[in-house]
Amino acid sequence: MAVMGPEGARDWCSVDVGAATVGVAERDALGTTARVVVWPPNWTGRVLAAVDAELALLDEQASRFRDDSEISLVQRCFSAATRPRSAHPGDATRRGSCIVSEGLAEAIAVALAAAEWTGGLVDPTVGGALHGLGYDRDFAALPQGAAGEAAPPEPGYVPGWQSVRLDGRRLRLAAGVRLDLGATAKGLGSDRAARAAAACVPGGGVLVSLGGDIAVAGEAPLGGWPVLVSDEPGQHGREPAARIARPVCAPEEPPGRQVRLSAGGLATSSIRCRQWRRGGRTLHHIVDPRTGLPAAGTWRTASVAAASCAEANAAATAAIVAGEQAAGWLAAQGLPARLVAHDGSVRLLGGWPATVGGLVKVPVTPRMPAAPSGRPDGTRRPPEDLSGPARPDRVR
């Protein structure tokens, strides 16, 4: 059923989750699905319009799949002005710069902060590597090569996040840097949209999910927002709403799969989706900046709750890349997390509730710095324990 809102709200479909006390709608956005849950439900139309505005802004600012996006324009400008053969981290200070919008500056700042926080395991400069691996367009338009159709992928070039300099709105990129904000942009988008939506619901509350990266704002329902954490492989066709609207007390649930969220954000990163085949290999979208190849760590899925969705998003992606070191780092950060190994075994950390429908206690204060403390000389801060001792050199 097409819905729902007044002016500005577009293409939303209402979703029946079995509760009339909330309004639920979803639509395709940013190459994935956006879902909005609102209480009281009579504010849904206005909330959807606010979410639409935020999603449109983020898409215009940070989508690397749109030729007319701001980040694509910036990328082209730097590509034309630099000579890739002479590029190395640190060149940025000697090359040109450009002024970006406040929104894009915020998105880049969050990505750089995540990179510093995770010791470089979440790196916005993996765009070139992803491009080289074949993820060079919106995923829905990605060709699915048959086995043996192309040569096995070569490790991609990851210049490193220090090759990006951001001073306020002034951006400098070293030659050859191709930005990809995917590890943090959806989380940031959820945070922005939830904040904007909550302003439309005085006394009520909202939940915004962008591709499973969830942010909540305003007043949560009694006991928190019930959320399902999924690790299942993809199914053909859109998942029916009835599948979601099952009782919280299903006895066969794996541990920690159904939780409640009352504040902050919850994000999941997984190598089980956004997969494609090339040269007889199945690839996925989470690139290990240390190798330039899809991450091949211990965990296939990581769900993390944090003070913001951007932070949760960065932590979840870092956990996939970090592998064995992820559990220790997450515990040190005090972040509730649910890790699923390749054999399907589940590990709960940081107070992630094992009981069905338990409340996830999200840290009140952010763990991720608001902005990177980047060094002007381009040197890298020693990686923290998350990176692990065996850190291979970057591949070019």
Binding site: G203, L228, S230, V248, R274
Partner: protein
């Protein structure tokens, strides 16, 4: 309309009957009208004074109670202007928080998968929510 009745056998005079100086005891006790009127007037004055104090206390109490509720009761509508700009909008308060028993969203990996269906058709699957 008021008048005194002649004293009857067995009647007892009320205390203070002879104490009001404005109505000295008359030697002619058969003229009890003035004495009765004095006692009545004194009683009425006492009652009026008591009523005035009671009324004043009641008024003060009501005013204080009204003031208390005016400052402490939850507002009927939110103070923001957005409330009045949306038709049908109602104020949400803690008392009206919903209780949800089933998940309303799913957190999963960035869930777009692409597969091949019958006849080689591409099937794009969104399954994040």
């Amino acid at each position: 309309m008021e008048h005194d009745y002649p004293e009857q056998p067995g009647w007892v005079r009320l205390p203070g009957y002879d104490e009001d100086p404005r109505y000295p005891h008359d030697a002619d006790d058969s003229r009890g009208y003035r004495r009765g009127a004095g006692a009545r007037g004194s009683g009425v004055r006492r009652v009026r004074q008591a009523s005035n104090w009671t009324a004043a206390l009641l008024i003060a109490g009501v005013a204080a109670t009204t003031g208390y509720f005016a400052h402490h009761a939850p507002p009927a509508t939110p103070a923001t202007s957005a409330v009045t700009s949306v038709p049908g909008g109602t104020a949400a308060t803690r008392a009206h928080k919903p209780s949800l028993s089933a998940p309303v969203a799913t957190s999963s990996g960035s869930g777009v998968t692409v597969g091949t269906g019958p006849g080689g058709t591409r099937i794009v699957t969104y399954r994040d929510n």
